[in-house]
């Protein structure tokens, strides 16, 4: 008797298995779709598309409101949300585009703009420069203002006249004198690194103008396009 039950059951299972719709593997397609929008450029495109879709919605509803259509549905809030979302996506698209720009041509920028120059000369024992290179200081100040991610190192030193401790303090004041001028030209204090090295090694108690100086060295470790897009 049992075999008469098992046989139809087996046939039924076989039929059901045959009827089951085989599921197509879509993982590779999903990966390709994801790849099409990967990276900064792909993300910029995606955000731009989203922004356009949102704007379309907002404009559509604007048309309704102007013609007094769909009066029974509060569409205005939806339109406002869509317009705000469009603006957000536009900003994100712009940011991604800037990152892409940095990615593709950042290495060409500002390499030649790094500066290593003596900008201030001091008399023995003085922290007030008798001669400064104002043009260089102005240029570095403006450049630092335009590139918030950039930094500059101010290195100041003294000759061997006087006591080492006094000369250490003197070199710090000399560096500060240059920093004040850089800040006045647009640099942010956070961008400036002070390096007061005190006495430059040499024969004791020997005046040397070459060592009574302050040097500015700019560096630009991370280049970034559109730093003001936030």
């Amino acid at each position: 008797m049992k075999k008469y039950h098992y046989l139809p059951l087996a046939i039924l299972i076989l039929l059901l298995t045959a009827c089951a719709t085989p599921k197509t593997d879509t993982e590779d397609l999903k990966a390709e779709i994801k790849a099409a929008r990967s990276g900064h450029y792909g993300q910029a495109m995606w955000h731009q598309e989203q922004s356009e879709e949102d704007l379309e919605t907002a404009n559509e509803i604007l048309g309704h409101l102007e013609k007094n259509h769909y009066w029974n549905i509060n569409e205005k809030q939806k339109a406002l949300d869509a317009a705000k979302s469009a603006a957000r996506h536009r900003l994100e698209a712009e940011k991604e585009m800037c990152l892409w720009l940095t990615e593709v041509h950042g290495h060409n920028h500002h390499k030649k703009e790094s500066i290593h120059d003596t900008v201030a000369y001091f008399k023995t024992g003085s922290a007030v420069p008798f001669k400064t290179k104002d043009e260089t200081i102005g240029k570095v100040g403006n450049w630092l203002e335009a590139h918030p991610d950039a930094t500059a190192t101010v290195t100041a030193s003294t000759d061997t006249v006087g006591k080492p401790a006094y000369n250490q303090d003197l070199s710090e004041r000399r560096a500060q004198a240059v920093i004040q001028r850089l800040v006045a030209s647009g640099a942010r204090p956070s961008q400036l690194i002070t390096k007061a090295i005190g006495e430059v090694p040499g024969a004791d108690n020997t005046p040397d103008q070459e060592n009574r100086v302050a040097i500015v060295i700019t560096s630009h470790p991370v280049y970034m396009d559109c730093p003001n897009v936030k």
């Binding site: 259509h69 029974n72 549905i73």
Partner: protein, 130 residues
């Protein structure tokens, strides 16, 4: 004045209005077609109200309040359709909005700018406002 003369005066007036400009002709055709459509399909207000109220609230309200509202709207649209046919030679703004019952299916109908209470406030399943 005999009835015939009054009728003749009406027909003449209508004819003059109809033939005045091409724009007036367009008005006439639009209004006439809207009137005929509203008379013929005014009853579609019933499923429209049922569907939209069910979607906005629930099936119970859809089948009760929706049917009542749909009947009132259906009668209104049919009557307005008749008025549109009668006054079709006279240019005017649309009497019913939406002009045809199948237009903007999620929009609650209004006649002469007036609406009935108890309307739905969201898009229905047959029209998402696009």
């Amino acid at each position: 004045m005999s009835k015939n003369k009054i009728l003749a005066a009406c027909i003449l007036t209508c004819a003059l209005m109809m033939t005045s400009t091409a724009k007036a002709e367009s008005y006439f055709i639009d209004k006439l077609s809207q009137g005929i459509a509203n008379i013929a399909f005014g009853f579609i207000e019933i499923p429209k109200n049922v569907i939209n109220i069910t979607s906005d609230q629930n099936i119970f309200l859809g089948l009760t309040w929706g049917v009542i509202r749909g009947i009132v709207h259906g009668v209104s649209r049919t009557l307005v359709g008749g008025v549109e046919v009668i006054t079709s030679p006279v240019p005017s703004s649309e009497f019913a909005s939406p002009a045809y019952v199948w237009n903007r299916f999620s929009e609650d109908s209004r006649y002469f700018g007036l609406h009935y209470p108890g309307y739905w406030t969201s898009y229905g399943p047959l029209d998402d406002g696009e």
